[in-house]
Amino acid sequence: MTSNNKILELQNIVKHFGGAKALDGVSFDLYSGEVHTICGENGAGKSTLIKVLSGAHTPDSGKIFIDGNLVNDLTPNEMLKAGIATIYQENTLFLHLSVYENIFVGRELTSKYGRLDKSAMIAEAKNIITSLGADIDVMDTVSTLGGAKMKIVEIARAVGRKARVLVMDEPSSSFGNHEVDLLFDVMHRLRKSGAGIIFISHHLDEVYAISDRVTVIRDGQNISSNAVGEISNKQLIQDMVGRNVEQVYHHTPCVKDHVVLELKNASGYGFNEANLYLKKGEIVGIAGLVGAGRSELINSIFGKYPLASGQLSLYGKSVSINTPETGMKNGLCLITEDRKIDGLFLGQSCNDNIYVPLLTKQKNLLVKSQVQKNLSNHYVDQLSIKISSIEQPVSGLSGGNQQKIILAKWMATNPSIFLFDEPTRGIDVGAKEDVYLELQKLIESDKSILIVSSEITELMGLCDRVYVMKAGTIVNELVDEEITEHNILESAL
């Protein structure tokens, strides 16, 4: 489908943040009708590159051509006008505004005398949402939607601009298979109509399924650029992380016989009559479609929301956990779905971020800074977090590295039960391997893990058992060999 019509070209883009170089002369181009994917490990500079393209960041040097013409005024406004629409990695929605208002922000439709034409906007918004195959009321306020639906609204907003270039920075990281399929449909349609698409994803199967070309960048430099058929999975990973990753999933079962966590007939906000258990040394997955209530379930176990009814027991003793504080006291930890909203202290240093949960656990009123630093450095090494110094504010880290800071912060509290909500969201393959190795070490030291993931291969590769949720209820339980994509999807749909 790729034409010979080059719509976009970036030449030698350089971008620094303070002293750190994020882009070191990256070049990139895009033809009409093409899906061109950018791959690279966390912090490679993918998001920075597309932010330069969208006008969000001003490059230090380098040139951008559209249809062969040099672009001088690099602002979001100009780039949008030039037909480049971007879906950013992090949410850029207006939570208090309705879906249709979000879709039309910055390009509101008016009728006579500059008066807003609400009915036209509502009608068109409905069309776009329907064409995306989504079930969202355009009058709803965005804050009432879950993470995946928000992403769909962002996609709708970009698609609605009828842009010639659509840039998508990890649009699928909060999606399940169903949503990914819908997304691909849309991408195919746009491609057919002649638009060019820049796609970023850490899911290599997605990359192979949709791309025409793959460009790999590492440490802010071009590494390779190939048609998708000409590069093997292994080579792609090698290009990205600079080493061989033989086996991503490392799972040797270590299940012991005691049940450490059990939920009986538990109902709460977003789920009902849930029964589940978790054994010492076990990794149990929770699968389901977006909006199935998985997040609510594990948030409630940790104490973020109270249980409406039912019973939670730890080590055979019934407990009542109504706040995260008591959750932690009972040896639990929760890694939440949205790191920006409720995971990180963006303005604070990595060092301070990692230490926060430990503050509530320590008896001593004083904090020894050397102890704190040693601890941070330990986890930075162990999880290969890419930072210039532990005193760097986390706001300047790439998405994947931010996620690792969160992992570090909870590992440091040494809980016995880990509750993970999409723990590897946005993490690159190489780093995923690090994380999975850590999980293995955790179960080997008798920790137990409950993991919510929309990535079925991840659940297949990691879990001893998987519960499948559908519309707030646990509908199936799969063990060992039963954990297959087919079985999971069959119960979830």
Partner: protein, 334 residues
Amino acid sequence: MLNKSNDLNEKQPSKNDQTGVIGAQQFRQFLRNRNTPLLIGLLIYIAIIALIEPAFLSAYNIRNVMLQVSVAGIITIGMTLMIIAGQIDLSVGFLVGLTACIMAALLKAGVPEIIVAFSGLFICISSQMVTGLVVARLKLEPFIVTLGMMAIYRGIALLLTRGAEIPLDRKFEFLGRSRFFEIPTPVFIFIGLMILFAFILSNTVFGKQLFAVGENNEAAYLAGINVSKFKIKVYALHGLLAGIAALILMSRIGVGSPNMASGLELETIAAAVVGGAALAGGRGSIFGSFLGVVFLGIISNSMNIIGVSTFWQYIMLGAVVIGAVIIGGLNKDK
């Protein structure tokens, strides 16, 4: 009129926007509206005061209260825009004072009224634009920048007047003292501006973008809105409204004095917040602010009318402000 602009400004999700049927549905919407508890509270308050002292509802006093409220009311419109845009302005009280002093000095020097009036508007608009420029371009906190501006305006006004008042000698009486159909001109202007801005907020691109910019600067910028230019525009509008308020206030009191509007900044912020505006930006309504400014504005009048020591008015004021935001907060959760 009330119910109309009420609907116009509603930012809550409401799925029935298209329906035109008046009846049960409208009534249910009315009950769900954030401004409803405030409106009910205000009516109860008025009823109680009127029971104690019927003169409170005399035509004279209603006119009197509306007149007293109109200056704060006009500034509250501007403050509501500012707050929705995520801004705040502590300088407006002394800016109004300074502008009035300058206008009074010009009048004294024999400059024609019409030129004086336009100079006043010009001063307010341009000062606010400078503040807006500093805040928007340098990404500074408006709270602290406008606090600094407040001190500067105050200093200039004091230096200019040497602490005294400058009398107008009966010039410039039209704006503050004339009436149409028994209704004082300032009240006309106040209500007219309220309706105009209620319309602007819900029916124009400017209005929509105001909420977007206030809620999420960064996202608005990425959506192609020139955020700093937009903010400067909001400051300019706020300045224009402050200028109109300065003209009316000066005309009403008959003097230009540095302190003549001090305290108005906090009163108008309180009125907007009582009316449902969120200081974090992205939320607020003109009708809510109207209720807020009327509620706060009648407190002092009602205390005087029922003959209670004025010191009670502070306690009443504090109670109304806190009560309103508590009730607003409870309502929000539902």
